[in-house]
Symmetry: C2
Subunit: 143 residues, 2 copies
DNA sequence: CACGCTTTTAGACAAAGTCTAGTCGTTTAC
DNA sequence: GTAAACGACTAGACTTTGTCTAAAAGCGTG
């Protein structure tokens, strides 16, 4: 699990290795999707992934897009960001960080991990364990 | 705007006054919806509001439920909590606070405002102004 | 009462996401 | 080599949440 997370371009062989390291069998469609996601740190909706993948020659079905994004999220290859009630964003940056969300433009931006850190969690509810902390700073366009 | 926010039971007259104080004309349907929401601090989906309202005698249409919840949110009578990709929760507690979200049970719980506070915001993106901060601590049921 | 304005409504519609049942491809078993 | 078994992929139906439209109802004012 201590593999180097991708920050820039990866070859198809590196993508396959990355999927295998996260216990995901690399198939043609999964590599196609991963190539788009891991091109750079970004936030894409399922719909965006679908239309980018299908600009290329290969056709990948809607069902496979959703199956794959859910699988990637479950395996820790991407992170779901829930910030817009109408769609989920998939974040190819899985390092610990938080987000600005521009409610006017729909733009989602990373907050540098050092710039914002909770020093300590409050006591969790009885019988529960921590699963993650999401901090979303909503902003409006000024002017 | 410095009115006392409701924390427990309100008469219909008090509900109407509360709506008027937030620049919302109190109608029969809006008071019916407000009576449910402001019964106590709670987190309800539109669907839950619809079915609770329609247990009573009056029938309120789906369109009116959505129109009213959106209006209440816009006027600051309730707060939208976006934590589950499939539905919005409407929070009748509009004071400054954050949430635990149990991803197993779907339960949403308040975090006492003193128990968790960001000391300072990071520098906002160019040309934007703050609109709100949401902190969500996701937890899983242990056992 | 007649007018204009706001609110409510039924039901059509849209978008995101899931599910089903069949197909395709790749191993494994013989 | 062939067949069974298994995993992955797919088209398209379906579900759910929410919005929209166009008409009706309510309401205040003259
Ligand atoms: Mn999902
Ligand atoms: Mn909404
Ligand atoms: Zn991010
Ligand atoms: Zn709350």
């Amino acid at each position: 699990m201590m593999d180097k997370e991708p920050t820039s371009w990866m070859s198809d062989a590196e993508i396959s290795a990355h999927l295998r390291a996260h216990d995901v069998t690399p198939t043609q469609q999964r590599v196609d999707i991963a190539r788009i996601l891991f091109a750079r740190p970004q936030h894409l909706s399922a719909d965006q992934v679908l239309s980018i993948v299908n600009q290329e020659t290969q056709l990948v079905s809607k069902a496979t897009i959703y199956n794959t994004l859910n699988l990637f999220a479950r395996k820790g290859l991407v992170r779901e960001v829930i910030v817009d009630p109408s769609k989920v964003f998939y974040d190819s940056n899985v390092s610990d960080h938080h987000h600005f969300y521009n409610v006017d433009s729909g733009e989602l931006m990373d907050i540098d991990s050092q710039a914002l850190k909770l020093d300590q969690l409050p006591t969790l509810p009885e019988g529960t364990e921590a699963d993650g902390v999401d901090i979303i700073i909503r902003v409006r366009s000024r002017g």
